[in-house]
Every structure is written in structure tokens, then in C-alpha cells.
């Protein structure tokens, strides 16, 4: 099977950069900040494939570059270098202009105009942040939050949008009588489920989950994880799961990448990463798990 999305050499540098940025940062130097020019190498030369209906985990400590990676792929930040290509099976009908005639993979998405990037995002992607304030408008009703996303994806019929919102909130176990309440009235776990409903509203193929269970209490965490698993198999979603919690990665993901100081230090099957880690940092991470 061909990958749904191919990522090659994805890099992000903050600052002007110099010739020595790459040779003075990374796990072996235990920093991502260039000692010579002060630039920060947030992620460097990250390459991987994401397949249809696969959950890929990204683990690493704060500052390892895992959230940067998601923000680059979600087009929130501009990458310094690299390429992101989509398989034609997934999107040729929706976005034919991305494909050269007869090519199996799209042009480099990173080179698209901001408008085109928005189109790709609205057609294919959903994101759930650790902080619901980033993904939701707290003062707008939950239904309105979803409608806003549907408007972005080209929906115009209010009745249809309301039905869709109700359907998604039901799937994520939000009581329908609370559909017109703003998320600020909700508990953290409920806010997270509204975020998931919103992220799913445009029928995405790829869902980015950035520390979605961090900060939730254990009972709520289990429910959100079960919900994500169910939705993944129901909608054949590809998930990119960013977490520093190895337990979450273990339950959701078959493959995992480990990041440290902006580099991928190890990638493999999740059970292999957890039981037979190869890199020094991964061994430390696994040995430190409670």
C-alpha cells in the first residue's frame, strides 16, 4: 500500500541561521539552540510516511520539536525546508489542481499559496490541541463552533449544519441539550470532546492530536482514548498522535517516532520502541516510565 502522505526533510529554524546551526545542535550536543548565531533548530530533516487508517505516535520531551512538526503539517507555521506530498487516491477528486497530469503524488504542499493551503486543510485535516482554548471559541455555542468550521469547508445551509453538529456532538457523547451552550461552561473532558467533534466536522482524512489527554483526569482520559479509537476505525482516519505519555502512545499507535532536540532519534513498531529501545534517549525515557 502506498502512503497517504509522504513527508521528506521537513525542517524549521527560528532565527537567521548560520552554517554551523546543524553541526552544533541535536541530541549529541543536548541543545537545539545554535551556540554561534542563537537560532533555534526546532526540527530538522524529519522524514516519514503516514498511511491510511494508521495511528503514528510522536514522543519526546518538551522542546523536542513534536508540536512544531504538527504545526508545520497543519500549515500554521511555514517550514524552512522539506516536502509534503499527498497520494492522489485520497484527494484527486476534491483538489485536482494539486496534481500534475498522471502523477501519483501531489506537488509539494509547502509551496502552495496560503489560500490553497487553507483549502487543503479544510478538505483533509482536523486538529485537536492540548489546550481547548486554541481549538475552540469559548464564548460561542458548541454547535456554533462546529458550524464555523463547516462554513470554512463551504457549507451554507444552516439546517444542514445544525444537523451535522448534532450528529457529531452525539458521537462524542456531548448531551444534545447542551449544544447551544458555550464550551466555557463545560469541564475539561467535555471541552476536549467538543474539540474532537469540531475537528471531525469536515470529514478529515488526517487528524492531528497534540497531547489531547494531557491534563485530563484518568477516568476522562480513558473515555477520550476509547472515543478516539472508535472514531478512527469508523472513519478510517490517519492519526498523528503527539504525546509525552508512553501509555497513550502504546494504546493508540502501531508505529512511533522518538524526537529529541529537533531530530528523530528512533522510529519503529511501538512495542519494539517500548521493549527494545535502541537509542540512549529512548532507553532513558522507557526506563523512567512509572
Amino acid at each position: 500500500m502506498e502512503p497517504l502522505i509522504r513527508i521528506r526533510g521537513l525542517s524549521k529554524r527560528f532565527g537567521n541561521g548560520c552554517e554551523r546551526c546543524l553541526s552544533s545542535t541535536g541530541p549529541e550536543y543536548e541543545t537545539n539552540r545554535c551556540a554561534h548565531c542563537g537560532s533555534v533548530v526546532a526540527c530538522n530533516d524529519v522524514s516519514f510516511n503516514l498511511y491510511k487508517n494508521e495511528a503514528l505516535g510522536i514522543v519526546g520531551e518538551s522542546g523536542s520539536g513534536k508540536s512544531t512538526l504538527v504545526r508545520l503539517l497543519h500549515f500554521e507555521w511555514d517550514a524552512s525546508d522539506g516536502s509534503v506530498e499527498l497520494h492522489s487516491d485520497a484527494v484527486l477528486d476534491a483538489l485536482p489542481e494539486l496534481f500534475e497530469h498522471g502523477c501519483m503524488y501531489s506537488r509539494n504542499l509547502l509551496g502552495l499559496s496560503p489560500f490553497q493551503k487553507r483549502q487543503v486543510r479544510n478538505a483533509l485535516m482536523g486538529i485537536v490541541y492540548q489546550n481547548p482554548f486554541l481549538g475552540l471559541r469559548m464564548n460561542v455555542s458548541s454547535g456554533g463552533n462546529i458550524a464555523e468550521r463547516l462554513l470554512g469547508a463551504g457549507w451554507r445551509n444552516i439546517g444542514a449544519m445544525r444537523r451535522r453538529a448534532a450528529e457529531l456532538l452525539e458521537k462524542t457523547e456531548i448531551p444534545l441539550e447542551r449544544m447551544d451552550e458555550p464550551p466555557k461552561n463545560f469541564s475539561g473532558g467535555m471541552q476536549q470532546r467538543v474539540q474532537i467533534a469540531k475537528a471531525l466536522s469536515n470529514n478529515p482524512l488526517i487528524l492531528f492530536l497534540d497531547e489531547v489527554t494531557t491534563g485530563l483526569d484518568l477516568s476522562v482520559q480513558a473515555r477520550v482514548l476509547d472515543l478516539i479509537r472508535t472514531l478512527q476505525s469508523e472513519f478510517k482516519l490517519s492519526l498523528l498522535v503527539v504525546s509525552h505519555d508512553l501509555g497513550v502512545i502504546n494504546l493508540l499507535c502501531q508505529r512511533t517516532m522518538v524526537m529529541k532536540y529537533g531530530r528523530v532519534v528512533e522510529a519503529g513498531l511501538t512495542d519494539q520502541i517500548l521493549q527494545d529501545p535502541q537509542h540512549k534517549y529512548t532507553q532513558l525515557l522507557v526506563a523512567s516510565q512509572l
Binding site: 480513558a222 473515555r223 476509547d226 513498531l269 512495542d271 519494539q272 532513558l284
Partner: protein
């Protein structure tokens, strides 16, 4: 069906001054199609290591694990790309570990149904029927079907684990102490289910604590020292 050739596994612990642990050394054996091989040897000899190398939870340090796949033909599991390993695990190779790993607050019935639904392309009703049939055979009381296995006894958890692993009838089944922590009635029902799987063509490799039991269920036994 499966030929292990000169398999060795070393663990290099970078966080303990590069300490090296040799978990198994130069292991070679062969399992014919439909056969059942037992692995015996003292604690720490590397029996589980061999199973985990075959399943690729461990990356073998050297040697080969030749497997005649229904989908890919003859392949070396030791060096197979991750994505293909996932595919083989999904379609052909099952593993019963000594521990149950599940999402908290998912019911026993759902846990056993999940692999059937994910693989065999059967209806929800048929998957449910098979899962209930297995749980009943494994003597799980009916009132536990909709309960969460995290709260079960060790023996009950182990039987859920077995039901989960055999429910989709894998072509190759790896068993790491599947009957440890079970009472004799449950052991008998597990062996019965394994026997039926064999009749349907499943090839097996197993580690059993109890030597008499191992001798009675397997065709041959390979000793690891």
C-alpha cells in the same frame, strides 16, 4: 512454515555504561506447517526472547526468521520493514503475552470482538456471536462480559487475553505461558480451543511452565540453554 536460523539477541544498555546482555545465542529450529513446537529451558534462557524476536517486539541482533507468508511468500521477519510486520501481525501472526494490554473501561466483550471486526470483515452480530462463544468456552461468567477486564482476577484477565488473540484465527500463533495463572478446568478449555485451531491449520510455537502439559500438546520440543 517457520525456520529460525542462528538467531541471537543482545541488549546494549546505553544508560548503564554500554552494558551488554546476551539474551539468546545462535538459536536454530524449524516448525512445519500446522505443527506445534514447544520451547523449553530454565528461566532466563531466552525462550520469551525468541518469541519476541519472531513477533518483532525485539529487533534480532543477528540471524534470520524465515516465514512462509500466505500474502508475501517466503520472508525474513528479522529484517522485514515495519509496515509489512504490521500487515503480517494483522493478517497472519498472533501473539499471546503474559500480560493483558487494553484500553481502560472497554468491556471484555468489546475487547474480544475488536480483532474479529478489524480483520475478518464480518458483521457486528457475527463477531459478537463468536466472541460470546469464546468467552463461554473459556469459562468467563456471563455477568463479566460487559465489565472492564482491569478489574478481573489474574486468571480471568489471562483468558480474555487468549480469547482476544485467537478470536480471528491467526495462521501462526505465538504463545508465551498462556496457561500460567489458570486453574486446571480453564487450562483444559484453553487446550481444547488451541487443538481446534490446529485442526483448522494454525501453526504454533509455545512456552509452557508445565513440562508434562507441554509434552502432551506439542509435536516436538526445542530446548534452549
Amino acid at each position: 512454515m517457520l525456520t529460525v536460523q542462528g538467531l541471537s539477541k543482545d541488549f546494549t544498555l546505553h544508560i548503564l555504561n554500554e552494558k551488554n546482555i546476551a539474551a539468546c545465542r545462535d538459536v536454530s529450529f524449524n516448525v512445519p506447517k500446522g505443527g506445534f513446537l514447544g520451547l523449553s529451558g530454565p528461566s532466563g534462557a531466552g525462550k520469551s526472547t525468541v518469541l519476541k524476536c519472531i513477533y518483532r517486539t525485539y529487533l534480532p541482533s543477528s540471524g534470520a526468521v524465515w516465514y512462509d507468508s500466505a500474502e508475501y511468500g517466503r520472508i525474513d521477519l528479522a529484517t522485514l520493514p515495519d509496515r509489512a510486520v504490521i500487515d503480517i501481525r494483522t493478517r497472519e501472526m498472533g501473539y499471546v503475552s503474559q500480560f493483558l494490554k487494553v484500553i481502560p473501561r472497554v468491556s471484555a466483550l468489546d475487547i474480544v470482538m475488536e480483532p474479529i471486526l478489524a480483520r475478518n470483515g464480518v458483521s457486528r452480530e457475527a463477531a459478537r456471536e463468536r466472541a460470546i462463544w469464546l468467552l463461554e468456552r473459556l469459562r468467563i461468567p456471563e455477568h463479566l462480559f460487559d465489565a472492564y477486564p482491569a478489574t478481573f482476577s489474574g486468571g480471568e484477565q489471562q483468558r480474555i487475553n487468549i480469547a482476544h488473540a485467537v478470536s480471528w484465527k491467526p495462521r501462526l500463533l505465538l504463545l508465551d505461558e498462556p496457561t500460567a495463572s489458570l486453574d486446571s478446568a480453564s487450562v483444559a478449555s484453553v487446550l481444547e480451543i488451541l487443538g481446534e485451531l490446529r485442526q483448522e491449520g494454525t501453526t504454533m510455537i509455545g512456552i509452557f511452565h508445565d513440562h508434562e502439559l507441554m509434552a502432551s500438546v506439542t509435536d516436538s520440543v526445542f530446548s534452549i540453554y
